[in-house]
């Protein structure tokens, strides 16, 4: 099979060149650290709890596109689909620290966990208080009793939004951590892959999927999902995804939720809106109220086609931080 077409220069330089472009697209609101693949805000207040996010590149705008006011204070960028190294995380953390401790927020993957943990140990040696909240929203990755084995997918975005708001407003790392833990306990997602994406440097597709097949629950790097099936209608796919997400928390009549439908890369907005229509029918029929909707592109897997559905159950506090104004390349809200 021919390698997918990509608009690139040197495939080894994709992350460095992407970061340069990302900084420029932020119109001065962020800068890159001189010797490390990390993005930090240029308008950081003198005193605040710091929020550091990060992960592998190749999922833009996640994570480094979510640095800005009431979002992440900094982001550590790994190579494509690979966690950032401890030195990148450590240097970014030192720059964003404003004397009140740092919350590390990232998706739950072995590589991210180890590299962020090593950096946290280095910071603790410097006397800096670090807490860690790992996003574990993917219900397809492990059964409910093993949420610690679940991956972080598009739930990352609501988590960054809420933790970013909390880190701007709340005065202590304890409080920011408490809000983030409440948010992660209430967020659930699942994805469906329709076609594979590829890693720029190898040019190879990360998995194989026949022209008439889809995979329910596939992860953001092509990790195997819960079932591979023949292609079916948008409504039938939405029904299956919603059944798995709703039954997991479970979400119940009377709940208020935020709903995110996230494009994995190559699915059209038209398809996403058709899916949104069905999902709203399902939520209405179950008496679940949608406080806000987000339909768009936030966590991509290169040219992978497919989408994910995220629901977060809200209380007044989570609503407050989700609805706060925020400004970043990948997600803004007035």
């Amino acid at each position: 099979m021919a390698n997918p077409k990509k608009v690139l220069n040197d495939p080894k330089q994709v992350v460095a060149e992407m970061i340069d472009g990302l900084v420029l697209a932020n119109d001065g609101r962020v800068r890159k650290l001189p010797n490390h693949a990390a993005i930090v805000r240029t308008d950081l207040p003198d005193s605040k709890v710091a929020l550091l996010i990060g992960g592998g590149s190749g999922h833009e705008p996640l994570f480094h596109g979510f640095v800005g006011r009431n979002m992440g204070d900094g982001a550590a960028c790994g190579q494509v689909f690979a966690a950032p190294s401890p030195d990148i995380i450590y240097e970014a953390a030192k720059v964003v620290h404003r004397g009140k401790g740092i919350l590390f927020l990232y998706g739950n993957y072995a590589g991210d966990n180890m590299n962020f943990d090593i950096a946290a140990e280095m910071l603790e040696d410097d006397g800096i208080d670090v807490r860690t909240v790992r996003v574990t929203d993917d219900v397809a990755a492990a059964p409910p009793e093993r949420t610690h084995d679940r991956r972080g997918i598009a739930g990352d975005i609501y988590m960054i939004k809420i933790a970013g708001g909390a880190a701007s407003e709340l005065d202590t790392l304890d409080e920011v951590e408490r809000v983030a833990r409440k948010a992660v306990a209430n967020v659930r997602s699942i994805g469906v892959a329709v076609a594979a994406g590829s890693i720029p440097e190898t040019g190879k597709l990360t998995f194989e999927l026949a022209d008439d097949e889809i995979e329910i629950g596939m992860g953001a790097h092509g990790e195997a999902g819960v079932s591979r099936q023949k292609m079916k209608s948008a409504d039938a796919i939405a029904d299956e995804l919603m059944e798995k997400v709703l039954s997991d928390l479970p979400f119940r009549a009377g709940d208020e939720v935020a709903l995110m439908i996230n494009n994995l890369g190559a699915t059209t907005m038209m398809e996403m809106l058709i899916v949104n229509r069905r999902i709203r029918q399902i939520l209405d029929s179950q008496g679940i109220k949608v406080h806000r909707s987000d339909v768009g592109t936030w966590l991509t897997v290169q040219e992978m086609a497919g989408f994910s559905v995220t629901l977060m159950r809200l209380d007044d506090e989570l609503k407050r931080y989700l609805d706060m104004p925020a400004e970043s390349l990948g997600y803004s809200r007035m």
């Binding site: 190579q79 494509v80 190294s85 030195d87 072995a110 590589g111 180890m114 590299n115 190879k204 790097h221």
Partner: protein, 214 residues
């Protein structure tokens, strides 16, 4: 008293580590294909980044001790490879270097100590045990074999470790991944060797080839 013809001094240790680096870099495509089968296909380019960094670091500032030579490789891998592989292989070399502080030659016992100590640190960092289809399944039997062969000298210890790691790679074919990105494959991971275990065997095989020719 160790047989001094069966040890490596500082220069020879650095040359061995450079040989190992070039050998792994040469096998990038093999590692990519192994990772595409059960992972996301970035293991080859990640290891290449790490060992290219190791070569650059050893050229830029020639290590002044055997401990620092191994530590330089580990620091480069941890910084340049990234991901789980960077943390694990970086930890292996960095932690494994520590007990060699003050030693002027690398002998069989020193090599076995390097693997023992590195393995212990990797187990702690990764939170995994043998049998979960990871690089542990190659490095753990290698460390045991090196310890058994340590008294017979460096060449024997490295050869025994290399052979044990290769058997470990083969054994991972029959394991079901229960950690890392391959975990969700479950039984579909059967039949495929673990890419991280393959990297361990490539590193040890290169050490064996170097010492056999030294």
């Amino acid at each position: 008293m160790p047989d001094m013809s069966d040890t490596l001094d500082l220069d020879a240790t650095i040359n061995m580590l450079k040989f190992v680096s070039r050998s792994v870099i040469d096998q990038t495509d093999l590692l990519t294909d192994a990772d595409l089968a059960i992972g996301d296909g970035d293991h080859g380019i990640g290891m290449r980044r790490g060992f290219e960094g190791a070569l650059e670091a050893m050229d830029a500032t020639p290590p002044d001790s055997i401990e620092n030579a191994l530590k330089t490789v580990g620091t480069a891998i941890m910084s340049k490879t990234g991901g789980a592989a960077g943390a694990i292989f970086g930890t292996l070399f960095r932690a494994g270097s520590k007990p060699l502080a003050g030693r002027d030659v690398l002998d069989g016992e020193g090599f076995a100590t390097f693997l023992d100590t590195g393995l212990e640190a990797v187990l702690k960092r990764g939170g995994v045990t043998e049998g979960q289809k990871t690089m542990i399944d190659a490095i753990a039997p290698a460390a045991r074999a090196a310890r058994r062969g340590a008294d017979a000298g460096l060449r024997q210890a490295i050869a025994a470790a290399a052979a044990a790691s290769q058997q470990g790679v083969e054994a991972t074919r029959d394991m079901i991944a229960t950690t890392g990105k391959a975990r969700s494959l479950g039984e579909r991971s059967l039949g495929h060797p673990d890419p991280g275990a393959i990297s361990v065997s490539l590193i040890l095989k290169a050490m064996q080839d170097f010492t056999a020719g030294a």
